[in-house]
């Protein structure tokens, strides 16, 4: 088989891997939309905030040091210790749970029974607030995120494929880890929502708020729970993307990559986010490979949306989304 064929296969495999990274972001959107019908505009910024907090805790950075120094003329910057990665991840998760509680107390509680568009706009405000808070807490400089994840070409895969096909395939070790993490995440989230009491409550709220309330399920608790889980997913996405590019404020833009995934996979399906991510990832990479050179390249951003729109024509609810039928 020709070199071009193997290259196309390599592009497709890397597309699948990139799709997994997109899906990690999309999952957070799905969780909140499924449970509350809110499109959480702040999901990308939550990933950024989680990654900033993780690096800050890991490196012993004093939160709000710039503000404290500017106010009191001090020269504080660090506690002088380093926190092990696992503990830092757990502490960051604690911060994200605290964030979920505050969002519920200060924002969502006051917007019960409001139109979805009002809740959506509240999340826009939340995104800007969280971005500013992240800047004040941890500073705007780019930070290296290292939680021990491997990066770079997998030598084993390159050697084995070279031996078998005479073509050494490139697969990034970070992408392999991301694929494994995404698989575990989807299985865990699906199992949680099916087999645990809170998970069943979550599904009940997703199906019918009023009915869930009437059987004693606390809507406020469910909102805290779902925002906490979305915070956890944001942390995972933040770790993966932050390892790749460093933790910086453009990390919030990864949400742009999740939108076509959601349009394609459906806003309410966890497996849909994964399948959508894979289709977008492989689709955009193969399009860039086959058609990109003819149109000057850089087709990936817009092609992802075109692909999602084409799917929407045939399945407006996305591949796995729930069909909404409203009687008039």
């Amino acid at each position: 088989m020709s070199d071009t064929f193997f290259f196309a296969v390599e592009v497709a495999i890397n597309g699948l891997m990139a799709g997994v990274m997109y899906a990690l972001v999309a999952l957070g959107f799905v969780l909140i939309f499924k449970a509350s019908g809110v499109f959480n505009y702040a999901q990308g910024v939550m990933a950024l905030f989680a990654a900033l907090t993780l690096v800050g805790i890991q490196s012993g950075q004093i939160p709000f040091a710039h503000v404290i120094n500017a106010t009191f003329g001090t020269h504080l910057s660090s506690f002088g210790w380093n926190v092990p990665s696992l503990l830092a991840i757990l502490l960051t998760m604690g911060v994200m749970v605290l964030f979920a509680i505050l969002v519920e107390r200060l924002v969502l509680k006051h917007l019960v029974n409001q139109e979805p568009i009002i809740l959506f706009m509240a999340t826009i405000g939340l995104a800007f607030f969280l971005e500013g808070l992240g800047d004040l807490m941890w500073g705007s400089e780019i930070k290296k995120l290292d939680v021990g994840l491997p990066q770079g070409i997998s030598g084993t895969i390159e050697n084995v494929t070279h031996e078998w096909f005479g073509y050494g395939f490139f697969i990034d070790r970070l992408d392999i880890i991301a694929a494994m993490v995404a698989t575990v995440l989807v299985i865990a989230l699906t199992a949680y929502s099916r087999y645990t009491k809170q998970g069943r409550a979550l599904r009940a709220v997703a199906d019918d708020h009023q009915a869930a309330l009437s059987v004693g399920i606390s809507l406020r608790f469910i909102w805290v729970l779902v925002w906490s889980i979305a915070g956890f997913v944001a942390l995972v996405a933040g770790i993966m993307w932050g390892t790749k590019s460093g933790v910086q404020f453009s990390l919030s833009l990864i949400a742009l990559k999740a939108l076509p995934v959601l349009m394609l996979g459906g806003f309410t399906s966890i497996p849909g986010a994964i399948v959508g991510g894979l289709i977008i990832g492989v689709g955009e990479k193969l399009f860039e490979f086959f058609v990109g050179p003819m149109v000057g390249g850089a087709t990936e951003n817009w092609f992802a949306y075109v692909l999602a729109l084409v799917f929407l024509v045939f399945r407006p609810q996305g591949l796995f989304g729930e069909k909404i039928i409203e009687r008039v």
Binding site: N14, E131, E141, I153, S245, G246, S250, L253, G297, E300
Partner: protein, 428 residues
């Protein structure tokens, strides 16, 4: 009683008299948003230099300076809003810090009679002073940068790069596309094979591009990137084991921000620069004494000596020197934007003057003229040492190939003049 009232009235009139003149230097900065990590150190350097002049020298020519900072978020619309909001404050010069904002401001600033300085960015043909009377882009522009990169490759290849493969990895925007024409012209002259690899904004995902590079195996990759595109590109280059010493970025792809996230893998990466690196200059002792230790720094002081902080310092120094020249020409300390333009057009930076300023060998010597608003376009190559976590300049300043670039500048400026009904002025 009458006398007391008269004295009081006189005192009030004196107190409410004309405010002390100030030389106003607006700073269109971006400390927030996706590009904040690059915008903040530049803005800090720019502000700190003027604070130093005020604290140490009492301003420029006895007149205090005032920096009005306006946050653009690296957004063109906000940049134009900032310009409109600050131009009435007596602005002497604008440094828009974005090619997008520059394109919007060239006609506006020309109409308002306020000079623009786009140092190492913006519209390259603004170097033609006969067409762009109010825009300046000294000491170097993108086309000169492209030529310097090729000169360096010629230098390390014994004077010939014929048959070599060079890939340009560029931000798919007006900025990223700037060097293409120059590199194509230089390819005809030197016989190298050029491949163009665009990256869509913001550049967080570049797998396709680097798989293509891995497959095509170019000898060298040049990069015109900004923001996250730079960090991801350097990481991806490391991922495919591309030799870092063969990877060269433009000056906007060569700060600590770009290499730190990749850690040790970024070792050996090269970038162009038109000013020196580090803080081992007498000026920085004064900066510490009068600004940073005095608690008057614009930022936390952590950025001092970084590439982008130094660039802010350099930009402010060039603006201050032009203001000095303008004061000299106008014969008064309280200059206008029109005087400032004349100062910029007759600016001469010599090594002797740089040494006086406490910045010996900080940047190349150059002279601006009525025809040439772009300066000599000299640039050097800096290389990243990941272990020492610092950049070092590894070459002398290269002269760009103006034989190739000048006709391109002329043609583009003429096209702009025709499009906008501008009659090129005669320079004597």
């Amino acid at each position: 009683m009458k006398k007391k009232l008269t004295a009081l009235a006189l005192a009030a009139v004196l107190a409410a008299g004309p405010a002390m003149a100030e030389l106003v230097f607006p700073s269109l900065s971006y400390r927030t948003g996706p590009y904040a990590a690059g915008g903040a150190p530049f803005a800090d350097g720019y502000a700190d230099y003027f604070t130093l002049l005020n604290e140490r020298d009492g301003g420029i020519g006895g007149v205090m300076t005032k920096v009005i900072e306006c946050e653009t978020g690296y957004n063109t619309e906000k940049g134009v809003e900032c310009y409109e909001a600050t131009k009435g404050e007596g602005a002497l010069i604008y440094q828009p810090l974005s090619t997008g904002i520059t394109y919007q401001l060239i006609p506006k600033a020309s109409a308002d009679g306020i000079p623009l300085h786009t140092m190492g960015y913006g519209r390259t043909s603004a170097a033609d002073g006969t067409v762009f009377e109010w825009a300046f882009n000294y000491p170097a522009n993108y086309w000169q940068g492209a030529s310097v990169a090729i000169k360096h490759l010629l230098d390390i290849n014994g004077g010939s790069i014929e048959g070599k493969k060079i890939a340009l990895l560029y931000h798919n925007s007006a900025y990223g596309k700037e060097p293409i024409r120059t590199l194509e012209e230089l390819a005809k002259k030197h016989g190298y094979e050029l491949s163009l690899i665009p990256v869509d904004h913001p550049g967080q995902e570049q797998k396709s591009q680097w798989l293509q590079i891995r497959r095509e195996k170019p000898d060298y990759v040049l990069m015109w990137g900004w923001g996250v595109m730079n960090q991801v590109a350097i990481q991806e280059a490391a991922n495919i084991r591309f030799p870092m010493e063969n990877f060269i970025g433009i000056w906007w792809s060569g700060s600590e921000n770009d290499v730190v996230p990749a850690g040790a893998a970024a070792n050996g990466y090269k970038a162009l620069t038109f000013h020196n690196v580090g803080s081992d200059f007498p000026l920085f002792d004064d900066l510490r004494k009068y600004v940073i230790d005095a608690g008057k720094a614009a930022g936390s002081g952590e950025n001092v000596g970084t590439v982008l902080y130094n660039r802010g310092i350099y930009a402010a120094m060039l603006a201050a020197e032009a203001a000095r020249k303008a004061q000299e020409i106008a014969g008064k300390a309280d200059i206008t934007a029109s005087d400032m333009r004349k100062g910029m057009e007759t600016l001469e930076i010599t090594e002797e003057r740089m040494a006086e300023l406490g910045m010996p060998n900080f940047g190349p010597s150059f002279k601006v003229t009525c025809e040439n608003h772009g300066g000599p376009g000299k640039a050097a190559i800096q290389q990243w040492d990941a272990e020492a976590r610092k950049w070092s300049i590894i070459t002398d300043y290269y002269e760009p190939d103006m034989e190739v670039i000048q006709p391109l500048i002329k043609a583009d400026a003429e096209a702009y003049a025709k499009e906008n009904g501008i009659t090129p002025r005669a320079c004597e």
